[in-house]
């Protein structure tokens, strides 16, 4: 028998909407978002009940029955377990497997049975006497947010019993203190910090089978030294956030539950990720210091907040065409991704805005650079988003709120050299991105090549442009940016390196001769170096971007206008000529192409 209850919709009060639009959101706002996530998880479970193949639903029902038993006596506890981010990750993954949108790595019964493990965790926390079967994989059974236990090899399910406070999994008694590691039992470790009366308690999740929802390489079990290092980073990051970024800290304390460490082998640089399936969980690579962790937490939690809001209301239509330039990625993005990036980097700009005025910060120039860099880029993107025509009414209001905050920040002075260096970094990325992802109309490129050979002016008119998405989805290394960072954050060391070319080359082994000359601010020589590099490696985008920056530093000219405005046209014509055995001077060709008008890129 079905039950048509008068279900209330979730609401987003105006005050919370405004807080979120301005880039923030307090603990109350986060509570509202968490409540909506719990409803989403329950809807997913409801959908799983209907979608489960015959014979598999009982695995799901066993978990739901036990959760219902917990809920009857301890509703808050059941609610707390259900809102856990990795419950969302599990439910979303299981649904996608059932709908064939993703491939499962285990039998569907194992996925569906995971709700019993969630329920067992709730029953354990409630101190219930209970019995339930939970899934096992490769000799391991997992109790979400508690730990993993070794079980019989080959078992697909194992019994969990709670009797008078004693816990047994597959016949093995678990320690009374579930945070104590012992043979066969691996507890989930937690990171804690308190500062200024505000505490944070995070799971350092290297166990949950659904923690890899971020689609990167989540680390397996960390050793004690790695856990201690994470705790030290949290000890450094949390006071910084609480003291100087209280609004962000309060939201993070209210909503962040789980840090999933990225495999150390993946990268040593700061790559982090957030899944819209798992509000309150983020994947973070081992941070180099507390400040790096602090800004990563701010950035990723911005994604989480926006993702949860988008689960409640539509801010844009469902146009998913990857066609927009995002100054923080190497690939074209759909509008939703662009908005997400803008919101996240708005948090980053807000972080550095405060950091630069904080006496405790060692290097204020670096904070100025980062603030200048990200406020400009976000501002540029917001203009594109507004003009896209894809925002809903609520989306228009939301972006207006973002813009209002940003306008205040744009009015704030930033001392030299940060603005010029930030402009260089922006143009460096934009030039490479256009060459990488935009393809001019081949027929018109042929016409340009013909005109060049005959010494004519380029044909007039707008050149159609097509977006060709690249394979890479994230930022790639940019050694020129690394050198700028070194110049700003460690000026003494950078000056030493400039006096020692061999040491400079050692410090930046992937830097080209052009990059090193450019770093020394020898721009005429850098132009010469980049010209030679382009002749030797004509398809290397980074040489073209380097030439662009060096030429502009020497003197803005028609060539720099072309290379900044439509480098992909210069690049395409050059490649065609080189393919025919000709080697025009790159900047002479750019100068000739300055009058070209690129069309609006289309997918």
């Amino acid at each position: 028998m079905t039950s048509q209850l008068n279900l209330r919709p979730h609401r987003v009060p105006r005050a919370d909407f405004d807080l979120l639009a301005g880039g923030y959101g307090d603990a109350g706002t986060i509570g509202l978002l968490k409540s909506s996530q719990r409803s989403k998880h329950l809807l997913q479970v409801r959908e799983l009940l209907g979608a489960a193949p015959p014979g598999s639903a009982r695995e799901l029902r066993a978990g739901l029955d036990l959760l219902a038993e917990v809920q009857r006596k301890w509703p808050d506890l059941a609610a707390d377990v259900l809102v856990h981010p990795h419950v969302g990750a599990w439910a979303a993954h299981s649904l996608r497997v059932l709908r064939s949108a993703e491939t499962g790595s285990v039998p569907v019964e194992t996925d569906l049975g995971h709700l019993a493990a969630v329920a067992a965790t709730a029953a354990i926390r409630a101190g219930l006497d209970f019995a339930v079967n939970i899934p096992a994989r490769n000799g391991i059974a997992h109790l979400p947010s508690l730990g993993s236990v070794a079980v019989r090899a080959g078992a697909n399910t194992v019994p969990v019993l709670g009797i008078d406070g004693a816990l047994f999994v597959d016949g093995r008694r678990l320690p009374d203190d579930l945070e104590a590691e012992e043979t066969g039992w691996r507890p989930l470790r937690r990171l804690h910090a308190t500062s200024g009366g505000l505490s944070i308690s995070l799971e350092l999740d290297d166990l949950d089978p659904y923690r890899n929802c971020h689609r990167l390489d989540a680390a397996d079990r960390l050793d004690r030294a790695a856990v201690d290092l994470w705790q030290r980073r949290v000890d450094e990051a949390w006071p910084l956030l609480v003291r100087h970024h209280r609004r962000y800290a309060e939201a993070i304390a209210a909503g962040l539950v789980s840090l999933v460490p990225l495999s150390a082998g993946q990268t040593t640089r700061g790559v982090n990720a957030t899944s819209m399936d798992a509000f309150g969980s983020m994947l973070v690579s081992p941070p180099v210091d507390g400040q790096g962790l602090a800004v990563a937490l701010v950035h990723e939690f911005q994604h989480a907040k926006l993702g949860a809001l988008l689960g409640l209301i539509d801010l844009h239509d469902d146009n998913s065409e990857p066609q927009y330039y995002a100054p923080w990625r190497d690939d074209p993005r759909p509008l939703g991704g662009l908005l997400h990036g803008a919101y996240a980097f708005m948090g980053v700009a807000g972080f550095w805005r405060v950091q630069r005025t904080t006496a405790a910060v060692g290097n204020v120039d670096f904070a100025h650079f980062e603030f200048a860099r990200w406020r400009e880029r976000v501002n540029r993107v917001l203009t594109v988003i507004v003009r896209s025509g894809h925002l809903t009414d609520a989306g228009i209001e939301f972006v207006a709120g973002m813009q209002a905050t940003l306008d205040e920040w744009l009015a704030e002075p930033v001392p030299a050299p940060a603005p010029a260096l930030a402009q260089d970094a922006a143009d460096d990325h934009s030039t490479s991105w256009r060459i990488r992802n935009l393809q001019p109309d081949p027929a018109q490129v042929k016409q340009l090549v013909k005109a060049w050979r005959t010494g004519d002016k380029p044909p007039a008119g707008t050149m159609p442009m097509k977006v060709i998405p690249s394979e890479s989805r994230a930022l790639v290394e940019n050694v020129r940016l690394d050198l700028v960072g070194l110049r700003i954050s460690a000026p003494g060391r950078f000056a030493q390196l400039l006096d020692d070319p061999a040491a400079l080359a050692d410090a930046a082994p992937s830097a080209s001769s052009g990059d090193l000359t450019y770093a020394r601010e020898q721009y005429a020589a850098a132009v010469q170096e980049y010209r030679k590099l382009i002749v030797a490696e004509p398809t290397q985008r980074t040489h073209w971007a380097g030439l662009t920056l060096a030429l502009r530093r020497l003197r803005p000219s028609p060539a720099t206008t072309a290379l900044l405005g439509h480098p992909e046209v210069v690049f395409a014509v050059y490649q065609d000529l080189v393919g025919a055995g000709e080697t025009p001077e790159p900047d002479a060709l750019a100068d000739w192409l300055a009058g070209i008008v690129p069309g609006q890129p289309v997918s």
Binding site: K40, L98, N272, V295, D393
Partner: protein, 55 residues
Amino acid sequence: MDLADGLESDLVDLGEIGLDKLGRLDGPALERALRRVRDDAARPQDALAGFNSAL
């Protein structure tokens, strides 16, 4: 658009629902909310990755 009273979501609030009733819930509001869940389940999730916090 007047947002003075805030925004109403298609997402229904299941916070007060007994879990033993979850499988038997029905009705147009629930169906609207489930539609979004189904849409999400029909496509792979793209994690939002790539922030480089270390220069």
